[in-house]
């Protein structure tokens, strides 16, 4: 189990490195798809079928959106990174964050021993022991997101609504503007 997850995570890290480093945008997007499906398989091994289903479908939609956004643009490959000095500084900062992250992980519980097994007053104990009686739903994840923590879901709906509204506003303003002063916009370029 642990070795399988390790192999899967190595696969995802390799895919992510290729996705970040490759020159062609289309192959980069496809590598992101590989990472996403790897995450989905990992969810399935971690006994989380709900989010495995959601992750597969969301991954497909992300791929479609990204490909539709970048295909048929005349520029797909921008070579070269930033300047040498800023690259060095940012890589040093990343190393510092990595080392501090490893230090933080020492205070976390061991893998395969979650917090609620050792702490008796964790809220998960209530959800697991009384969830079926109190809400009547056999799927505890659904009973949490729609009953115990429904405020979270309400906030999620609000954020999704706002994001869609933002995308609509950003793309629609351009379309209206193009009809009025497209000649001016072309001339000043």
């Amino acid at each position: 189990m642990v070795t399988l997850l390790t192999v899967l995570l190595f696969f995802m890290v390799v895919g992510a490195i290729i996705a970040v480093e490759t020159k062609d945008l289309l192959s980069s997007i496809i590598c992101v798809g590989a990472v996403g499906f790897g995450v989905s398989i990992a969810f399935l091994f971690l006994r989380a079928p709900d989010i495995a289903i959601t992750q597969v479908v969301v991954e497909v939609l992300v791929l479609v959106i990204l490909i539709r956004a970048t295909i048929s643009r005349d520029v797909t490959a921008i070579s070269g990174d930033r300047e040498f000095f800023s690259m060095t500084v940012s890589i040093a900062l990343l190393l510092v964050i990595f080392i501090f992250g490893l230090e933080v992980f020492k205070s976390f519980p061991q893998f395969r021993e979650p917090v609620f097994t050792t702490m008796s007053d964790a809220s998960t104990n209530t959800y697991i022991q009384r969830g079926l009686i109190q809400t009547g739903a056999a799927n505890l994840v659904t009973s949490i997101i729609l009953d115990y923590r429904a405020y979270d879901t309400l906030g999620e709906a609000t954020v999704l609504f706002t994001a869609i509204l933002g995308a609509l506003a950003i793309l629609r303003a351009k379309a209206r503007k193009r009809t009025t002063d497209s000649s001016e916009g072309n001339s000043d370029q």
Partner: protein
């Protein structure tokens, strides 16, 4: 893809070979799209008993429409669910979720209380159980599905390809020297 259609012949563009992808993709889509939609509805309705729920089912329903858009072109999807209908369903899902929360206040309890389960609990492990969790699932499914369909339509319909390659080439050349 990319052809202008006159508004009159929108019904016939399902079989227009000029639009959309190849014949194989169109045929498979015609057979599969109903099953994908049905699977999404199943995932939403049985979300409180089996893996799934409003989020996963809503995304699957949106995926059925997006498959239609990709295979037949955007007119085929828009004549099944236009943008105004999609935005109305979007608001309807959010309002339905909020109304279920307010009804908890009305029936004597806190906001978001599961009042149906409290008053008349159904038989466990059956479809009509768990109070208003299935109703909330349906609301979330409508909301998520139509939102994602709408964002895809926005990104694909209002897409404008700008031909400014010349300017960029000049700039790249200048940077190279």
């Amino acid at each position: 893809m990319g052809q202008k259609l006159t508004p009159g012949d929108s019904r016939s563009n399902l079989y227009n070979p000029q639009l959309g992808m190849t014949l194989i993709v169109k045929t498979v889509t015609r057979w599969v799209k109903g099953f994908i939609f049905l699977f999404g509805v199943y995932i939403v309705l049985y979300g409180h008993l089996t893996p799934g729920g409003g989020f996963a089912g809503g995304v699957i329903i949106a995926g059925a429409f997006i498959l239609l858009t990709l295979a037949f072109g955007k007119e085929a999807a828009l004549e099944r669910m236009s943008k105004t209908v999609a935005s109305e369903f979007d608001s309807l899902g959010a309002l339905m979720f909020l109304m279920l929360a307010w009804l908890g206040l009305y029936f004597g309890g806190p906001f978001f209380v599961n009042f149906i389960q409290r008053n008349l609990p159904g038989k466990r492990f059956h479809l009509f159980s768990a109070g208003n969790i299935p109703l909330c699932n349906i609301a979330i499914g409508i909301k998520v599905g139509t939102s994602l369909f709408m964002v895809f339509i926005i990104l694909s319909v209002l897409r404008v390809v700008v031909k400014k390659g010349e300017r960029r080439m000049v700039q790249m050349k200048r940077r190279g020297e």
